[in-house]
Amino acid sequence: MTLFLGSLQLGLIYGLLALGIYITFKIMHIPDLTADGSFTLGLAVSAVLASAGYPVVGIFLAVLAGALAGATTGFLQTKIAIHPILSGIITMSGLYSINLYVMGARSNITLIGTPTLFSMARSRFDFVDFNLLRLVILLFFALGLWGALTWFFKTHLGLSIRATGDNEAMVKSSSINITATKIIAISLANACIALSGAIVAQYQGFADISSGVGIMVIGLASVIIGELIPLRKGVANGFLTAILGSILYRLMIALALQSNLFPAYALKLISALIVGIALSLPALRHYLAFRKIRKESV
C-alpha cells in the first residue's frame, strides 16, 4: 500500500502548491512564474530552521517568505509596470541566489535525524501507523488551507480580488485599488506555494536547491486536471478541484511507474501522455456529440 498511500500524501502536499497556482492562474488570470523560486524558498527556510531545531517555526517563516517573494513580483508588475511573465522570471531568478544564501551556500541540507513536523508527531502518536499518521497531518494542512482560502475569497477583499481577475477594465474604473488587489493575490498564492515547499522538505527528509525545478508545470497540470472533475462551480469547489487534481496527477504518475513496459527514460513521456489523454476528454466529448447530431440530421 506504500505507493497508493504515498501517492495520496504527495498529492496532498503538492495540492497546496496547486491551490497557490489556482489563485494566480484561474482567479487572477496572471501567468506567474515565481513558483519555482518561491517553492524552493519555502523549502530552504523550512529545512534551515528544522535543522536548527525549530521545525514548526520554520513552516511559519516559510509562508511569510513566500508571501514576500510574491509581493515582489506583484510590485514589479504593478508599480513598475513590467510584463507579468517577466516579473515572475525576475523574482524567480533572484530567488535562486537568495535560496542558496538561506541554505548557507550549500545546495543540499539533510533532515534525516533532525526533528521535523512528522518525526515529532510520530513520537507523540507512536501507536498509529506512520504512513497513516502522515496522511492525517497532510489532510489537516490541505483541508485547513482549503477552508482558509474559501473563507478569504468570500470576504470583501477576496471578492475584489476575484473581480480584478474577472474584469479588470470594470475594476479599474471602480473604487477598488487594483494595485493592491494584484499584489495581495500574488503574495497569497506564493505563500501557499512556499508552504508546499516547506512541507516537502520535512516530508522527504532533505532540501536540495533543484527541488523547485519544474514545479510550475506540476502545479499547472494539477489545476488543469482538476478542471475535469465535475463539481458545481463555486469558490469552495474550485479550490477543491485543485487539490483533487494534484492527487489524480500523482496517481497517474504512480500508474506510469508501475508499468514495466517502458524503459526508464520514458517516465516523463508516459506521464505527459497520460495527462494529455485526460485533458483531451472534453474535446473528445464535443466531437462525439457533434457526430451524433450530424448522424441524426441525415
Partner: protein, 326 residues
C-alpha cells in the same frame, strides 16, 4: 460527460490501489531472481557510466539475468518524481536498492524501509545524513564516496605545471558534491598560500561564459566532480586551450573530453566498486558491517593532445606512470 469523468477517475484510483496492493503481495512469491532497484535523479554521462559499471560488475560476479533483475528508474530531474519512485520501490519490495548521487540516496534512506541501500558516489555521506560514521553504517545504507583527493590534485598540478598561483574554480552550485569538493579545495589553497577566482553556473547554457570570464585572471582551472561541467567539458577545454590555461579535472571522462590532467577514479570504476560491496552484502554480510569506501585508488590521467597544445614538457617519470588519453 460527467458520468464518464467520474467513471474514469474511479477506474484510475482503483487501478492504482490494486496494482499497489498486488505489488505488495506478489513480490515475495515471484521467481527466484533477486530484484534490484536502481534510482537515478537525472541523465548525464557520469551517472550513466556509474550505473553501467555497476551492472557490468555485478554480472561478472556471476549474477546472471535469471538470478538478478535490475529495475532502473530515472526521475528525469523532477524531485517530486523521485519520491514517487522510492515509494514504488518500497511497494514492490525490492531486495536491494542502488542509488546514484546524493538526492536519491537521501530520499530513499528517509523512507526508513528495511530494504538495504548501496549508494554510488555520494561525496559526503555523513554530511548528507546517510550515516553517522563512514565506518559504521547505521541507516541501512553503505556505498562509495567519490571525495576528490584535494591535496593529491594540487600536488599533481605543481609537478606537471609548476608555478601556478591562482586557480579558477568552475562548478555548478546545485550539485552538493561539487560544493563540498570546492570548499575543501579552498581550505587547501588558503593554507598553502594559493589564491583562487570562482565562476559558478546553474545551467549548462552558462558554462561557456563562466569559463571565458576566468580567462586572463587565473593560471589554471580546477573542476570538481561536477556532472554539469563534465558534460560541457569539450567547450571548457577549448576555451582553456586557446588561453593556454591547463584544466585539472576530477575524472578520466573530463580528461578524455579535453581537460589536461586528473588524478582520480573513473565513474565506471566507482560503479564497479559499489558492485563489489553489493556482492559482499548479497553473499551474506550485513550492511552495518560494510564500511563506506572513500575511493582512493588513483591513476594519473593526462590528455596528450592538450599537453601538446599547452606546450607542456612531461618528465620521464610521469610518462611511465600515467595513463594517456587523446
Amino acid at each position: 460527460m460527467k458520468k464518464i469523468s467520474v467513471l474514469l477517475i474511479l477506474v484510475l484510483i482503483l487501478t492504482t490501489m490494486s496494482l499497489s496492493l498486488f505489488g505488495c503481495n506478489n513480490a515475495s512469491s515471484q521467481d527466484d531472481a533477486l530484484q534490484v532497484g536502481i534510482i537515478q535523479l537525472l541523465d548525464n554521462g557520469a551517472f550513466e557510466d556509474m550505473r553501467e559499471g555497476f551492472i557490468a560488475q555485478m554480472r561478472s560476479h556471476g549474477y546472471s539475468e535469471t538470478q538478478l533483475d535490475f529495475d532502473y528508474r530515472n526521475a528525469q530531474g523532477d524531485m517530486s518524481n523521485l519520491n514517487a519512485i522510492c515509494q514504488e520501490m518500497v511497494n514492490s519490495q525490492k531486495d536491494l536498492i542502488v542509488t546514484i548521487a546524493t538526492p536519491p540516496t537521501q530520499a530513499f534512506v528517509n523512507m526508513e524501509s528495511d530494504i538495504p541501500v548501496i549508494f554510488i558516489s555520494v561525496s559526503n555521506p555523513v554530511g548528507a545524513g546517510i550515516m553517522t560514521d563512514l565506518n559504521f553504517p547505521d541507516k541501512n545504507a553503505t556505498g562509495t564516496s567519490n571525495a576528490i583527493p584535494i591535496d593529491e590534485m594540487f600536488k599533481l598540478s605543481q609537478r606537471l605545471t609548476p608555478g601556478m598561483e591562482t586557480y579558477g574554480l568552475l562548478y555548478n552550485t546545485s550539485e552538493i558534491n561539487s560544493v563540498t569538493t570546492i570548499n575543501q579545495a579552498k581550505e587547501y589553497m588558503d593554507t598553502n598560500g594559493l589564491s583562487y577566482e570562482e565562476a559558478v553556473v546553474t545551467n549548462s547554457s552558462e558554462v561557456q561564459q563562466a569559463a571565458q570570464s576566468l580567462v586572463g585572471r587565473v593560471d589554471a582551472l580546477f573542476i570538481p566532480n561536477d556532472s554539469m561541467i563534465q558534460s560541457a567539458m569539450p567547450q571548457v577545454s577549448e576555451i582553456a586551450k586557446e588561453a593556454k590555461i591547463p584544466v585539472y579535472g576530477s575524472s578520466a571522462v573530463m580528461v578524455a573530453s579535453g581537460a589536461f590532467a586528473t588524478i582520480s577514479i573513473s565513474d565506471t570504476e566507482i560503479g564497479q566498486l559499489s558492485a563489489d560491496m553489493a556482492h559482499q552484502h548479497l553473499q551474506g554480510t550485513p550492511i552495518e558491517q560494510i564500511p563506506a569506501v572513500v575511493v582512493s585508488s588513483f591513476t594519473t590521467v593526462i590528455n596528450q593532445t592538450t599537453a601538446d597544445a599547452l606546450g607542456i614538457e612531461l618528465t620521464e617519470d610521469i610518462l611511465t606512470n600515467a595513463v594517456f588519453l587523446d
